[in-house]
């Protein structure tokens, strides 16, 4: 397959049921931060975006949503793929983005530069989909907040060391703030803006 035709292939085999299954995983994970869900999709997005992040894009994005992409994703065939398969347009303005996608290995962009919503309409904020290496094996982080009975623990590999600090800055503006969907392979984990992330004390 040449680069030119890449944009026109790789959508859902069964758009209705696969999108529903992907959304239910997203909904359950967003409602229970720290819970790891799995989205095994038939989607084949252009590299370097992985299949699960691609499935999330096709589940949530359409002509009503503008999407921000990292420089590497913008240079790939992804803008065309999103336009053809989802009808979504790509924007350079982080403030206008409803969704943002970050491929594995890319630097986590500054969260405060994305749309935060307003005090009246805090829902008008960006949801970031960020690919990382793994959910286990990194520095242990403790999660607290709505959706978690007492506390949950994750040990993500691929997030910056300063992440708990960035996230607490995001948390401070509540109800404004961005929401995060982390992707590692076919597995996902959500951090809504309400979740409090702290480094686990040794």
């Amino acid at each position: 397959m040449t680069t030119d035709t890449l944009a026109f292939a790789g959508g859902f085999d069964q758009p209705v049921f696969e999108a529903q299954a992907a959304f239910r995983t997203l909904m359950d994970c967003m409602a229970r931060p720290g819970t790891i869900g799995r989205i095994d999709a038939t989607v084949v997005p252009p590299a370097p975006l992985n299949a699960t992040a691609g499935a999330i894009a096709l589940t949530l994005c359409d002509h009503d949503t503008t999407v921000w992409l990292t420089p590497a994703l913008s240079r790939s065939a992804l803008p065309g793929w999103l336009a053809f398969n989802a009808g979504a347009t790509v924007t350079d303005e982080r403030q206008n983005a409803r969704f943002a996608f970050v491929e594995k290995g890319a630097m986590l962009p500054n969260l405060s530069l994305f749309a935060q919503g307003t005090q009246e309409y805090p829902d008008r904020s960006t949801t970031l989909v960020v690919e990382i290496d793994a959910f286990e094996g990194g520095r242990p982080l403790v999660l607290k907040g709505p959706g978690i009975r007492t506390e949950a623990e994750i040990a993500p590999v691929g997030l910056p060391d300063m992440f708990p600090h960035f996230w607490s800055e995001n948390r401070q503006n509540f109800p404004r703030g961005v929401d995060l969907i982390l992707v590692a392979g076919a597995r996902i984990l959500c951090l809504p803006r309400t979740t409090i992330v702290s480094v686990k004390e040794a």
């Binding site: 209705v16 909904m27 359950d28 409602a31 589940t59 829902d123 959706g147 809504p192 803006r193």
Partner: protein, 294 residues
């Protein structure tokens, strides 16, 4: 699944673009517990007031593996419940049940089941008026500002006036709650008896208001506190007699008028709970005794 039964509708009636729009609203609603997310509510093949908001939320989350239960004032066999259940059987060919325990999605009008909900379940509320401040301040621009500034003094004045007039807080349904210490939320017109069940619930709770075009949510394990005063703490309704059919106590009862001479009985509003107790051999004062009748 036989495609012939699905006629010409998309799965679960709504088109995919509408589902995506509702799904985005649901995710933001979960991320901001108690905050009302505006959404582009669609015309549904039923009138406003029949649960169009709840139906749209259910249609957006429903999948072929789900088991759906629909209740109307606690009952599985009332008009609204029967018609919505039939609607989803027709447009999504989905399995339905009346048993609370077996359901994965429970769409409800104005009750929370007596049986404790679990982690695998989602409760979808049909909401007529999502704005708890609406009867105190009719302008949407103003109530938005009040939520933005966390200015809820007016609600406390209303509850205080209740006490001044009646000696107690006279609000018995749609009793306002504060979610996670931030947003004051209308729990839909459920009796205040059900308010404590929302607090730290294991199930995800989604609220859909079709005419008012709002979706909001309470994630599992979220603090939901009914507003009150130190000297007038929140209290739920109590009943001075058990259910006349199954003898259950500490459940919400409906009053049923039996004749024109003042005869009445009090029975469980949750029909599934009542039937299960009756099947388990529990008997109330007016229980139909099959053996004695034969």
């Amino acid at each position: 699944m036989s495609t012939a039964d699905l006629a010409t509708y998309n799965f679960a009636y709504l088109d995919e673009q509408t589902k995506r729009m509702i799904r985005r609203a649901i995710l933001k609603a979960i991320a901001i517990p108690g905050y009302q997310v505006p959404f582009a509510s669609r015309e549904m093949p039923m009138p406003y007031g029949w649960g169009t908001g709840g139906v749209q939320v259910t249609a957006a989350i429903l999948g072929p593996k789900d088991v759906l239960k629909v209740i109307d004032q606690g009952a599985d066999d009332t008009t609204n419940a029967v018609s919505i259940r039939a609607f989803f059987q027709k447009v999504a060919d989905v399995a339905v049940t009346t048993k609370t325990r077996e359901a994965t999605i429970i769409q409800t009008r104005h009750r929370i089941p007596e049986e404790k909900l679990t982690a695998g379940q989602t409760l979808v509320y049909q909401v007529p008026i999502p704005e708890p401040l609406r009867f105190l301040e009719p302008r949407e621009t103003e109530t938005r500002k009040m939520h933005a500034l966390e200015e809820y003094g007016l609600m406390h004045v209303k509850l205080y006036e209740d006490i001044a007039r009646n000696g107690h807080i006279a609000t018995t349904y749609a009793y306002p709650v504060k979610v996670e210490g931030r947003y004051v939320m209308d729990p839909s017109p459920t009796p205040k008896f059900d308010n404590p069940k929302m607090h730290m619930s294991e199930a995800l709770q989604l609220f859909g208001a079709g005419r008012e075009k709002r979706i909001y949510a309470v994630p599992p394990f979220t603090e939901v506190v009914s507003l009150d005063f130190e000297d007038h703490p929140f209290e739920i309704q109590t009943f001075d007699r058990p259910c006349a059919l199954c003898g259950a106590e500490n459940v919400y009862l409906d009053e049923v008028v039996l004749d024109d001479k003042g005869g009445r009985m009090f029975v469980c509003s949750d029909t599934d709970h009542c039937e299960e107790r009756c099947a388990g051999g529990h008997r109330g004062s007016l229980a139909y005794d099959k053996e004695a009748a034969e």
